[in-house]
């Protein structure tokens, strides 16, 4: 049963499709609910990645997750990119398309980083217009992910959670709630992760991300290079209690271990969700910790 306004289903517990796991997936056809792909890796190529993706999409639901939509950039939207993204989505029957609340470059350049937005009225108007334009080209609503950020602009007049929600309302788009990113940014900027999640309306949330990160002492980097830490699992349970069952994806993009380890980490989300659904077990688990 979907809680979001577009009726996007709860696909269960998925992982990112990564090239190191291609052979394992095709040979063993693991029992996994769904895959998310990094869209840009499958555009402009007629080689192995696309062939693998076609085979994966025949057997599993697939979602497109991109890093180059650059929704907040002052540059014009890249229509060529969006048309290719749309075609890829159709080709593999992508359940939905997502990207990030960020900008990646200006003046025709791309830093290939998810750069932070200043959260101002001007940014909000500008980004909402662009997201509407993007959705018109793609002919479907998109979901925007809250990014991990390492700086805040002095001129920001909104907090990120309120900005994201208002943007989603104005552009009528979905939210991909990255629980790890909420934690990372809450540490980096000193806000309450729980309050952030309290502000997110359940009917906008299409998907949840979970990942590991790297603690540098003075700040946390969103590296997707490790297991999910307990604090983030607790935040995931909190999110489930607030928002309900939403398609959940485990990201692991650096120092990627073998498929079964990544899959097992994703399945921990299922156990956490079940525990969160039964508060009395939650208590036992808490004492057990």
């Amino acid at each position: 049963m979907a809680n979001n306004r577009w009726g996007y289903p709860d696909l269960g517990f998925g992982i990112g499709l990564r090239s190191v796991h291609y052979e394992h997936i095709l040979a063993n056809r693991p029992k996994i609910d769904w895959f998310e792909i990094l869209s840009e890796n499958y555009l402009d190529t007629g080689g192995r990645p696309l062939s693998i993706l076609d085979q994966v999409a025949e057997r599993y639901p697939v979602v497109l997750h991109g890093v180059s939509m650059s929704v907040g950039s002052i540059d014009p939207v890249n229509v060529d990119y969006l048309n290719k993204l749309k075609a890829l989505g159709k080709r593999i029957n992508a359940r939905w398309i997502s990207d990030h609340l960020c900008w990646t470059g200006v003046s025709g350049m791309n830093t290939h980083d998810l750069l932070p937005m200043p959260y101002t009225d001007e940014s909000l108007r500008h980004t909402a217009n662009r997201v509407r334009q993007i959705q018109e080209i793609l002919e479907r609503p998109i979901a925007l992910e809250n990014p991990s950020t390492y700086l805040e602009f002095s001129g920001s007049t909104w907090n990120e959670s309120d900005f994201l929600v208002e943007l989603a309302k104005q552009a009528d788009c979905g939210i991909l709630l990255d629980v790890n990113n909420v934690y990372v940014s809450s540490f980096n900027h000193g806000f309450s992760a729980e309050k952030y999640i309290d502000g997110i309306p359940a009917d906008r949330v299409v998907q949840i991300h979970l990942a590991g990160h790297t603690h540098k002492g003075t700040h946390i980097l969103d590296t997707h290079s490790d297991y999910v830490i307990d604090t983030v699992w607790n935040l995931y349970r909190y999110t489930y209690q607030r928002i309900g069952a939403v398609s959940t994806l485990l990201e692991w993009d650096a120092s990627i271990p073998e498929f079964d380890i990544v899959h097992a980490e994703a399945l921990k989300a299922k156990a956490h969700r079940e525990a969160a659904a039964q508060p009395e077990l939650e208590e036992v688990a808490a004492y057990g910790d």
Partner: protein, 263 residues
């Protein structure tokens, strides 16, 4: 300093792409524009993005140029990446084509180890990335070959698969890549002519080291010369010729065999 969206984005991108340490002007502006955190100054927060930019570019280029990265070593390769992306920043939604200008860029610099070898190695590695991404075209089948009448072979034109490239080099760069992949020993880095075909079979990218005459013949065929005409330009024995063709067909280098009348 103006803090509208356009000004902020241009400023931040300029800071990220500027190589070297944060200069005094950047520090002053960062303190006006970026909030400090409980643990980091404004410029330190900006520096996180600056550091990650070059690391990301290095990682992308190392994926496409593993041989060059190995030859130069991490420090010199990082310096090369820094200079290269300063002149050729990414202008695409994908990092896959970030390195397209690297061989040309290498022609403009000489203050790296063995610059001529580096240029040639980069040319081969770029060629292989192009082969990786080309469209998939099915290779000739044994049935298609058997269907060509014996007396028609002189007049046929062989069309290569899309994922096929030919190149001549002034150094043993294919052998060097073979050594990086632990297929053979590292060659002496000495100037000598070598010839390579890069192609894809079963979605895997391969290199085929060629002799001069084999390269010459393949070049003529790729240019669309009829087989008979191409053979008059290349001096080789019939035995050798049959060996080449057996290898080329079994490696799936051709997608079509056409008679001069277009059939």
């Amino acid at each position: 300093m103006a803090t509208d969206l356009a000004s902020l984005q241009r400023w931040m991108q300029e800071c990220i792409q500027q190589p070297g340490e944060c200069d005094e002007g950047m520090v002053t502006q960062a303190r006006q524009i970026v909030k400090p955190s409980a643990t980091l100054e404004s410029e330190e927060r900006l520096d996180i993005y600056r550091g990650m930019y070059l690391m990301r570019m290095q990682e992308a280029l190392e994926t496409d140029y593993p041989g060059l990265a190995k030859f130069l070593g991490p420090d010199e390769f990082f310096r090369l990446v820094s200079r290269y992306v300063d002149l050729h920043p990414s202008r695409s939604y994908t990092l896959n084509r970030l390195g397209d200008h690297l061989p040309v860029f290498l022609e403009t610099i000489s203050d790296i180890k063995k610059p001529e070898f580096c240029r040639e190695l980069a040319r081969l590695e770029l060629l292989l990335t192009q082969v990786f991404d080309e469209a998939e075209t099915p290779a000739l089948t044994a049935e298609q070959i058997a269907a060509v009448p014996q007396d028609a072979w002189e007049r046929v034109r062989l069309r290569p698969i899309a994922a096929f490239r030919l190149a001549a080099f002034d150094y043993p760069v294919s052998q060097y890549l073979g050594a990086v992949d632990e297929e053979n020993a590292f060659p002496q880095i000495r100037r000598r002519k070598t010839w390579v075909a890069g192609y894809r079979r079963n979605y895997g990218v391969h290199r085929l080291d060629l002799t001069g005459p084999a390269f010459e013949l393949l070049t003529l065929l790729v240019e669309g010369k009829a087989l008979g005409d191409a053979l008059t330009s290349v001096r080789t024995s019939q035995t050798r010729l049959f060996q080449w063709f057996r290898e080329w067909v079994s490696e799936g280098l051709f997608r079509a065999v056409e008679l001069e009348d277009g059939t």
